[in-house]
């Protein structure tokens, strides 16, 4: 993954936030997100790069940048493989 690339959801992907859950709505269904995944999804806005998202998360959760980056990378690569990212 190129860390300076801006991350953006593919056309037809919608983040839906409810009181007790966050879901990614995609053409064939809904993906329920856990807390960390929802925090990442919230930062995918077509403007922020991977590095910037990691920066925000590491402040938000007061965690080391490397650790946050590892988790975020795994999640984002899964999203990319399932066509959720543009």
């Amino acid at each position: 993954m190129i860390e300076t690339e801006r991350l953006c959801f593919a056309r037809g992907v919608v983040l839906r936030e409810e009181d007790e859950a966050s879901l990614l709505l995609v053409p064939e269904g809904a993906i329920f997100l856990n807390g960390t995944a929802a925090a990442i999804a919230n930062l995918i806005d077509g403007k922020r790069t991977f590095a910037e998202i990691v920066e925000v998360l590491s402040e938000q959760f007061s965690e080391e940048r490397e650790r946050v980056a590892a988790d975020a990378r795994e999640f984002i690569e899964r999203l990319r493989a399932s066509g959720v990212l543009a």
Partner: protein, 359 residues
């Protein structure tokens, strides 16, 4: 038992259609569904579904764009933050219709093609429509709405998978669904014409695998295997009454779009009963909910929460008992029915779905 949260509502707005695809899953007696819900009734169904927690609305048919009030229904659902998906064959998606739907908040369109080239496609559809579909695909690609191309696979077009993929590639389509025919409605009637051979299925898997490797994340290809060629049944609807609700054109409400074929179950209609009551309390939705209804070998099976006993409609069509283990499962005592049919040598020409005459 407690009902889970439903996530998805399929509204089959009409069973009318100008195509005659022999694999249509609509019921054979679709003429009996002429008394379609009005726009206001559909909007009420959508609101009741949103209250139950449904997040996704699939609009299908028949051909849903034959409903002139389609955009109004889309708008109602979008206002409730539902994800609205239109499942269409595309022949009526002209500029005006499409703009109206996009403006109303449509998130995704699925357009079906019958084959990757006109002659075969029109032969399968039973009418000259392929060219109009191509125009619709181009129109959708120019707008801010996601698109999936769908092609139902069967014996007649199964050897053309590589061409279907090339077709999607030419248009720059990001999502392609290659769905093997499922044997309900007209498809069940035409099963001896439509069942692919094992050699076709195996070649198809290879072609899809190669294309996925070549295309990477440029195109998502879903290849739905025919469950007859697998060891275990499909996790049909993720379980009966677990996540999905279907409403037929006349308001008849079902756990899945094929379940009208199960004649042993009580009927319930959203015209008469609120959707919450149907979902939570109806005998129909509770009949095969959870795992308590399961016979052997499902009852003790490690996979009972993975495939939920398979498909109730298929069990009924093949064994006469909707509560039997899906015969597609190799552990089913009725599995030989599937084997005989799958490996049989009988091949018949297909009979087109009969188009309703104008009155």
């Amino acid at each position: 038992m407690n009902a889970p949260r439903p996530l998805s509502l399929l509204c089959e707005l009409t069973y009318r259609c100008n195509l005659q695809c022999p694999y249509c899953y609509n019921p054979l007696d679709y003429h009996a569904y002429r008394d379609e819900l009005t726009e206001d009734e559909w909007k009420r169904v959508v609101r009741e579904a949103a209250e139950l927690g449904v997040v996704q609305l699939h609009l299908s048919g028949g051909e849903p764009t034959l409903r002139r009030d389609l955009a109004g229904i889309v708008r109602e659902a979008s206002a409730l933050r539902m994800y609205v998906n239109l499942i269409t064959q595309g022949t009526f998606l002209d500029e005006t219709a499409l703009d109206g739907l996009v403006d109303a908040g449509l998130a995704h369109v699925q357009i079906s093609i019958q084959a990757p080239e006109e002659e075969l496609a029109d032969r399968i559809a039973g009418t000259r429509v392929h060219q109009r579909k191509l125009e619709a695909i181009e129109r959708v690609l120019q707008r801010n709405v996601a698109l999936t191309i769908n092609c139902v696979l069967h014996r007649v077009n199964h050897d053309r998978i590589a061409d279907v993929i090339a077709f999607a590639e030419r248009y720059g389509v990001r999502r392609l669904e290659l769905a093997n025919v499922q044997f309900y409605g007209w498809a069940y009637r035409n099963r001896l014409a439509l069942m692919p051979t094992r050699a076709q299925v195996e070649r198809g898997m290879q072609v899809v695998e190669d294309a996925r490797r070549r295309l990477g994340d440029r195109m998502q290809i879903t290849y739905v295997l025919p469950d007859y060629f697998e060891e275990y049944p499909k996790p049909c609807m993720l379980g009966w009454g677990n996540a999905f609700i279907t409403v037929a054109p006349d308001g008849r409400t079902l756990p899945c779009p094929a379940a009208a074929a199960i004649t042993t179950l009580p009927r319930v209609n959203v015209r008469d009963v609120p959707l919450r009551e149907i979902w939570e309390d109806s005998q129909l939705f509770n009949a095969y909910r959870g795992t308590g209804w399961m016979p052997e070998p499902c009852r003790m099976c490690d996979r009972r929460e993975i495939d939920f006993g398979g498909c109730r409609c298929q069990a009924f069509l093949l064994t006469g008992d909707a509560g039997a283990t899906d015969p597609a499962c190799r552990l089913s005592p009725d599995h030989d029915l599937v084997v005989a049919w799958r490996d049989g040598r009988d091949v018949l020409p297909f009979a087109p779905r009969i188009v309703e005459k104008a009155h």
